[in-house]
Amino acid sequence: MNLALAKTDTARALGNIFATARERLPGAGAVAEMRQRAFEAFERTGLPHRRIEEWKYTDLRALMREVLPLAAAPDADALERAGAALASLATADAQLLVLVDGAFAPTLSHLAGLEAGVQVRALREALEDKGNQASADLLNNGATAGPMISLNAAMATDGVLVTIAEDAAPAKPLHVVHVATCSSAAIYTRSVLTVGKGARVTLLESFIAVGGARSYQANDTVTVRLGEAAELEQVRLMVDAPDAINMSTAIFTIGAKARLNTFNMTSGGGVSRYQGYLTFAGEGADVRANGVNLLNGRQHADTTLFLDHAVPNCTSREIFRSVVDDRAHSVFQGRIMVRPDAQKTDAKMMTRALLLSDEAEADNKPELEIFADDVTCGHGATTGALDESLLFYLRARGLSEKEAQALLIQAFVGEAIESIADDAVRELAISTAQRWLAARG
């Protein structure tokens, strides 16, 4: 009874929010029609709940409860506070592209010094550009379906469209920073990265909040197309405010002989889900998809990856580590599909969870669907506590209990973090993990 009522209320609240937001959403004509269709697709399911298999462990009807109105466009004060917050990310020499409360902030971004072969445009500007079909396609989720992605397409206010030209190899990582300064409001962002044939680039994406930003809801989608023999290293660091909700999606289309090294680390936020859809579109490509959850308090973080081996001769490796303290809940769902044609697929997935308290919970769900007969596929999953004999060895050498735990936790997540090739980006990931460890006291 309650559930049905809640569903109706939530759906109505969302419907109102879309109706109210429409005036402020960029794009008319085909763009507006696309939004309408996307919203209708969302309305058909509403907020996902535990009876939908892919959302079994992340019941948004229970965890999200309310849907918040669209965040206001940032004013000068918000931009200033966002600018100050960027200091915490000061990595060596990245090309910053900053989104504040769902609006691209050119004054905080490094647009002047873009390297050769790198083009950047704001999504809002592209959507308002005549409202034609090409603009509407920026909101197209293609074959990837899901309520939160549909909601994103309906509500996206801004984002960055980045194109790396054929054979370009910018030396600096691009760093897209999502800064929240708002409270009790929703942020919908959407970005597109196109990496041309033979191009090489590193993309860092951070989700951070200024002090005082509370209870916001972020929903981000990034669509990535890797051309033939392109190389991308993508690193995501989710360091949202402790009571924030973050629903993020990345959709990858991977060309022949392309190489993708993708890494997600969630150490912030109250409730979050990162869902990655990775589709091999050409033969001979290689994917490394790694991730880490560092959770405490009552955090809930879900990493859901879907690797679609749709063509032959591709390789994928997944390493996922979760560290769960207090009453936190970590979810890893790793689905690997090997389609009938995808012979000589080589896919492996290993997920390990480390529980630091009796009340911590980790759910690991590997799903392998193999329809080809000449493949190498494997997966493994473990859940355990810190090894007492290792802890004693370290303590007998002078490390306090927390220091010993911290060293072993770092070692536990190390294999995943060390997979980041870019030195400065890896250092940022390591220092983010160390901040989490230090905050344990």
Binding site: D387, E388, S389, L390, F392, Y393, L394, R395, A396, R397, G398, L399, S400, E401, E403, A404, L407, L408, Q410, A411, F412, G414, E415
Partner: protein, 250 residues
């Protein structure tokens, strides 16, 4: 005041008493050997001195420079100068040996209110000790003890002893799993650390180790007690007559 004083120590593991009132006094500069058959409680004694969880001390006390060691967590004991060279040093994948050594050394120094070692000083010190112990540089870059042979693991323990400069070293079955060459290298490493300010407790099954590390005192343990103490001649008697001759005394 003795450096280490164990008085009437009674220890149980899961309700079963292992040590039944063991006493031992060790002064600075002395090397004591503790010998005894399997199950006599030798390793239990070393674990309890180092502070390993899982042992219940039901009676007695352990004083270190007059302070109650049993009230201190293991890391505090280490900072005070107690060092246990493990019989089976653990492998810690993902923790580089150098990181581990520096973290441990600085944790001990911090606990004593001393300044941290600078990186160049630390590296210089580690390299110098490693060279003396015949520990190749690439071993220091690997995970702690990961893929080390038995001899390498023991040398890594002695490397730590040399770095941390403890005042009490407990060597638990240092000779187990070592061939004669590895044993000689390890023993040379230990002998180099003998000093008037440092005491050692060498726990062993066999007299052989004591040919290399010559003790000032030898204690025979049986069934959770010290049943006989003497000088190094006692070890030779044991070698000739076995442990059985002392078991009645227990």
């Amino acid at each position: 005041m003795p450096l280490l004083e164990v008085k009437n120590l009674q220890v149980s593991v899961e309700e079963r008493e292992i040590l039944h009132g063991l006493s031992l006094a060790v002064n600075e500069g002395e090397v004591h050997a503790i010998m005894g058959p399997n199950g006599s409680g030798k390793s239990t004694l070393s674990h309890v001195i180092a502070g390993k969880p899982g042992y219940e001390v039901t009676a007695g006390e352990i004083l270190f420079r007059g302070e109650n060691l049993l009230e201190m967590p293991p890391d505090e004991r280490a900072a005070k100068g107690v060092f246990l060279a493990f019989q089976y040093p653990v492998e810690i994948p993902g923790v580089a040996t150098m990181t581990f050594l520096r973290t441990a050394l600085n944790a001990q120094r911090k606990a004593r209110g001393e300044g941290e070692f600078s990186t160049p000083d630390f590296l210089k010190k580690v390299r110098e000790v490693a060279r003396r112990l015949n520990i190749p540089q690439d071993m220091l870059r690997r995970g702690v003890n990961v893929g080390f042979s038995g001899g390498e693991k023991k040398r890594n323990e002695i490397l730590q002893m040399a770095l941390f400069e403890p005042s009490l070293c407990i060597l638990d079955e240092m000779d187990s799993g070592l061939d004669i060459d590895a044993l000689r290298i390890a023993a040379d490493g230990v002998n180099a650390l003998r000093s008037p300010k440092r005491a050692m407790v060498v726990i062993t099954h066999y007299q052989r180790l004591l040919n290399y590390i010559v003790p000032d005192f030898v204690h025979v343990m049986s069934k959770g007690r010290v049943v006989k103490s003497g000088d190094k001649q006692l070890a030779l008697e044991l070698e000739a007559g076995g442990y059985a001759q002392f078991e009645d005394a227990a």
